[in-house]
Symmetry: C2
Subunit: 263 residues, 2 copies
């Protein structure tokens, strides 16, 4: 497979840097072709602003969605964004690797999403009718490709379990896995997460890298998170409500949007 | 009250700009004192990087948490960060206003959190013992103050309801409300959210601004989201698991961490 790893940590001599090298090496040893977008090293610009749309006249209002749509259609996105889109189209698999800061990705990686996931490319795709509501959540430009997260967290694993105080890690990552990756079509593999990384010793590192290598060896076969397809019949259109007969009765929250949870 | 509004939209002539002006005007007409941090207008730097810690020698490894701790203790954070911390200490209430991009805040606002919420200020506060696990989740530097979100979303409200495909808005915002605002001590008011903002007409705008004015008139009396306090006895220490007898039996997800949901 062709794999794009988007890496968002400011220090190459970090645990994240070491895990990235382990992942790349393992993937290459399996015959995969790997490209890395190292956002900090490349000086990635995080903010959507007028510099993204230099053709906007000074008196024109900046409406980010409308400007993104116009730029994508006219092939007038900035060169750094076009290069990332080209890599996403090239890759069969996308890996986002980052430290969990304040329960989500660092600003620089959010800025990569905000700028690269253009209107007409990652959203605003497909027709709206009585049978379908655009190509999203399981359909879209990136359908047929796989994606996963590699995440490091300072906190304890117990604090991220179903009854842990931070909230379940799968729920904390749902806005990314479902809202950013599944939305434009990716099949999303379960995340690779390591905890308590501020206290890592050599044994912890060896254990984490062995788990990571195993995940990298199985990227083609690991079953994705079974999110429900938007246009597959489970949701009413256009209200996009999960049909009342689906989902575990009484269940709440993000877990409703998984297949196989019907009561 | 003293109110700090942190504003994250690139275009002043936008719905967000109009809502900000409505909020500020209503707050001032109620006698509140308001300061605004306009992140785009101020050219806020989004990325934590070595420039945040100029005293780090070139060969020193950048460990963001450790560097943040050292800089906060030595009063050596950068001037832009120190100015924001001063405003947070000044304000009785914090409002974060932003458009919902990919189900969370824009990169520039995440970068404000990443850089301003320093170690020793917003996390890494307090003692760890058998009875308490640091001052967080209801305790901490910002305890006694209030906070709330003002959010605009392009999607339909139905898509953000408990069975809507995007996931419930309260769950999507939980990592911010609970993980970013409640964590350092804020009491968090229910968010103000407007939907389908790309199709706003004059009647929609009038309705939204009236709702917003009402919220601004009641910032001192609106009951906060009843998150459970970490050190109040509901969680085991140090595993930080919600005690098994608490929470609606069978409930999953973020809702467990609300008081008043015990079965």
């Amino acid at each position: 497979m062709k794999v794009l790893l988007v890496y968002a940590h400011p220090e190459p001599r970090s645990l994240n840097g070491a895990l990235r090298d382990v992942a790349v090496k393992e993937l290459e040893s399996q015959g995969h072709e790997v490209r890395v977008s190292d956002l900090y090293a490349n000086g990635w610009k995080s903010e959507i602003d007028r510099a993204d749309f230099p053709w906007l006249t000074p008196d024109a209002q900046l409406i980010p969605g409308a400007a993104s749509k116009k730029a994508f259609e006219a092939n007038a996105l900035t060169e750094d964004v076009k290069a990332e889109i080209e890599k996403l189209l090239w890759a069969d698999m996308l890996i986002l690797q980052f430290p969990l800061w304040w329960f989500t990705m660092p600003a620089i990686l959010k800025g990569w999403v905000d700028r690269v996931f253009a209107y007409g490319f990652a959203y605003g795709v497909g027709e709206h009718s009585d049978n379908r509501w655009g190509d999203r959540y399981g359909e879209g430009t990136l359908a047929g490709k796989r994606a996963m997260l590699i995440v490091t967290a300072g906190g304890w694993e117990e604090h991220y379990t179903p009854r842990g105080i931070n909230g379940p890690i799968d729920d904390l990552l749902f806005p990314i896995n479902h809202g950013i990756l599944y939305y434009p079509g990716y099949e999303v593999l379960p995340p690779f997460v390591v905890y308590r990384v501020d206290r890592f010793d050599e044994a912890g590192f060896q254990s984490a890298t062995e788990r990571l290598r195993e995940r990298m060896r199985t990227i083609e076969t690991t079953p994705p998170i079974p999110y429900r397809q938007q246009n597959g019949g489970d949701y009413l259109i256009p209200s996009m409500q999960l049909r009342t007969e689906l989902g575990d009765p009484g269940a709440t929250g993000f877990a409703l949007h998984l297949n196989g949870t019907d009561g």
